[in-house]
C-alpha cells in the first residue's frame, strides 16, 4: 500500500508521534486494522510513520487512550493536490479552458473538400453543400449523419449521379460522380446546300432535302445543290438539308522554284560558355577566348534559382555555340520543276480538305528565267463542294 497509486489516490500523511507508549499505540492500531508503514525513529527519538488519510482520522480515539499526540510532517497524494489546485483559481480555470477550447475546436468543421472529376463547377457544389449546412467553421454536431446528408445533397445536384459525404475528423469530403448524358446535338436551322465554286458534279448523296443537280452537271458558284425546301409551291416546308456533293474543280497554280538553294548545316563542332547571373548581369565563368568558328548559331539556356514558386535573381546561363556551314545546292531545271510541283500538290490537298484527290494536272506554261523555273499548272481536283446557306 505504501507509495503506490492507491495510496496516492487516497492521500497519505507522514506523522510524528509525541508520547510515551509508542509500542502500545502501534499494537492498538494494528488491532484496529489501521495500516501504518515505515515506522521508524527520528533523530530526537520520536516515532514517525505514514498513514492514509481515512486511517489517520480513525487513529484519534487510540491516540486519546494512550495519551499521545501527532504532528503531521508532510502531506502527499491527490486530495492535497486538489485542495491546492482549488486555491489556484486561474490555473484551474486555465486547465479547464484548455480542455474546453480543445473540445470546441475539434467539434468545428475546418475543411470541406470536393473530390471526383466532375463537370459540375466546384462553386455550385459548395453552394449546395452550404445550403445543407456543410461549410467551413460549422459545428460538427449540427450536421446530420453522412447518409442523409449525401442523399439531400444529391437532390440539390440533379446533374450528379451519386454524391458521397464522408466525415473524417474535422474535415468533410464530398465526392461527386457525374451522370453520363448523351451528347448534345448542334442546333441547326433549315438550310440549303450550295456550291462553293464552279465545278462538275461527280457524286451527289442527299441525306435530307431534295437534290437539284445530277452527276456530270456543271454548277456555278452559289447554285443550290440540295434544296432545304420540300413540298409544292403552296404547301412547303423548310428542312435541314444534309448530304455530300463531290465535284471536279480546276485550280490554276503559278509556281516559281529557284535553281540554287542554300541550306544551313551544323557541323557538329561546338563550344560552351557558362555565366553566372546576378540580377540582370552575367559573369562569365568558363569558355573564354574568341569564337573559333566563321559562322555559328548560339543557343542559350538560362537556369534561374527557385525557392518554392518564386524565381530568385540568381542563376546560371549556358551558351552553346554551334558551328554552321552553308551548303549550296544547284538543281537542274527538271529537279526544280519536280520540287515545285510536289510542293504545289501538298499545298493544294491541304487547302481542299481531306477527301480531295488530284485527278489530273496540266502544265500550261514553263520558263527558266533569272535562275528560277516558272510554272503555270492547272490541277483538276475532286473535292467536296457543298456549303451551307440558311433559309430565312
Amino acid at each position: 500500500m505504501r507509495a503506490n497509486w492507491v495510496a496516492y489516490a487516497r492521500g497519505y500523511v507522514w506523522v510524528k508521534l509525541i508520547g510515551k507508549q509508542s509500542e502500545a499505540f502501534v499494537n492498538a492500531a494494528t488491532r484496529e486494522r489501521i495500516e501504518l508503514w515505515d515506522i521508524s525513529f527520528g533523530r530526537a527519538g520520536e516515532l514517525t510513520f505514514g498513514v492514509s488519510i481515512p486511517d489517520f482520522f480513525r487513529l484519534r480515539p487510540i491516540l486519546r487512550q494512550h495519551g499521545c499526540r501527532t504532528r503531521i510532517i508532510s502531506r502527499h497524494g491527490l486530495p492535497f493536490r486538489m485542495a491546492r489546485l482549488s486555491r489556484r483559481k486561474t490555473f484551474a480555470a486555465g486547465m479547464l479552458g484548455f480542455v474546453l477550447i480543445l473540445f470546441i475546436l475539434s467539434s468545428l468543421i475546418w475543411d470541406v473538400r470536393i473530390e471526383g472529376s466532375s463537370a459540375i463547377p466546384e462553386e455550385k457544389i459548395l453552394q449546395a453543400a452550404k445550403a445543407e449546412g456543410i461549410y467551413d467553421y460549422q459545428w460538427s454536431f449540427r450536421l446530420g449523419n453522412a447518409a442523409t446528408l449525401s442523399q439531400r445533397l444529391a437532390q440539390r445536384l440533379p446533374e450528379a449521379a451519386w454524391v458521397g459525404v464522408e466525415k473524417k475528423g474535422t474535415s468533410i469530403k464530398i465526392t461527386v460522380v457525374d451522370s453520363t448524358k448523351p451528347e448534345q446535338k448542334k442546333l441547326e436551322g433549315p438550310r440549303h446546300l450550295v456550291a462553293k465554286t464552279d465545278a462538275v458534279i461527280t457524286k451527289i448523296v442527299a441525306e435530307n432535302g431534295r437534290p437539284k443537280v445530277e452527276r456530270n452537271d456543271r454548277v456555278r458558284k452559289g447554285e443550290i445543290l440540295i434544296s432545304g425546301i420540300l413540298g409544292s409551291e403552296t404547301d412547303q416546308k423548310a428542312v435541314v438539308s444534309k448530304g455530300k456533293v463531290m465535284g471536279l474543280v480546276w485550280h490554276e497554280y503559278r509556281i516559281a522554284t529557284p535553281l540554287e538553294t542554300k541550306t544551313k548545316n551544323l557541323t557538329g563542332e561546338s563550344q560552351e560558355r557558362k555565366y553566372l547571373i546576378i540580377g540582370n548581369r552575367a559573369l562569365q565563368i568558363s569558355g573564354y577566348g574568341n569564337s573559333a568558328f566563321d559562322s555559328s548559331e548560339i543557343r542559350t539556356t538560362v537556369q534561374r534559382a527557385q525557392l518554392w514558386q518564386r524565381l530568385l535573381p540568381f542563376g546560371t546561363m549556358k551558351e552553346h555555340e554551334l558551328e554552321v556551314v552553308e551548303i549550296e545546292k544547284i538543281l537542274t531545271p527538271e529537279q526544280a520543276k519536280e520540287a515545285g510541283l510536289s510542293q504545289a500538290r501538298a499545298e493544294l490537298l491541304a487547302k481542299c480538305g481531306p477527301e480531295s484527290t488530284i485527278k489530273a494536272e496540266n502544265i500550261l506554261h514553263e520558263q527558266t528565267e533569272n535562275g528560277k523555273v516558272m510554272l503555270t499548272v492547272l490541277f483538276e481536283v475532286e473535292q467536296s463542294i457543298e456549303v451551307e446557306r440558311p433559309i430565312f
Binding site: M1, R2, V26, L36, W37, D38, I39, S40
Partner: protein
C-alpha cells in the same frame, strides 16, 4: 487439556508431513541477508527502538537486534522489518534466554 490437543496436532503434523508453523501456529521468520526480516504469526510489539525490536509470541518473546531498524509494514499477523539486522533471539517463556 491443552497439552493433549497440542500433542495431537504435533502428531498430525508429523504423520501428514505438514510444516510445523501451519499446524502449531508458530511464528515463521523469513530473513533476507541482514537487510529484511518478515515475521508471521506474531502477537504484537513489546518494544521498539532503532536498535532492537521485541515481539510477543504465543510462548515467549522474540528479539531482533540491529541498527536503524524500520518497520516497513505491520499487520495483525505480520511484521516486515528493514535495516541492518544483527541478531534474532528467541526467549521461550519459563526458560533463561539463549
Amino acid at each position: 487439556m491443552m497439552r493433549v490437543s497440542r500433542k495431537l496436532r504435533k502428531w498430525t503434523a508429523t504423520i501428514l508431513d505438514l510444516p510445523q508453523d501451519v499446524a502449531l501456529d508458530l511464528p515463521r521468520i523469513t530473513m533476507i541477508g541482514g537487510l529484511q526480516l518478515t515475521v508471521e504469526n506474531h502477537r504484537g510489539i513489546l518494544h521498539f527502538s532503532p536498535e532492537s525490536l521485541r515481539l510477543a509470541m504465543d510462548n515467549g518473546e522474540m528479539e531482533v537486534t540491529g541498527r536503524d531498524l524500520v518497520i516497513r509494514n505491520i499487520g495483525t499477523e505480520e511484521v516486515f522489518v528493514e535495516g541492518q539486522i544483527m541478531g534474532v533471539q528467541l526467549h521461550v517463556k519459563g526458560k533463561t534466554p539463549g
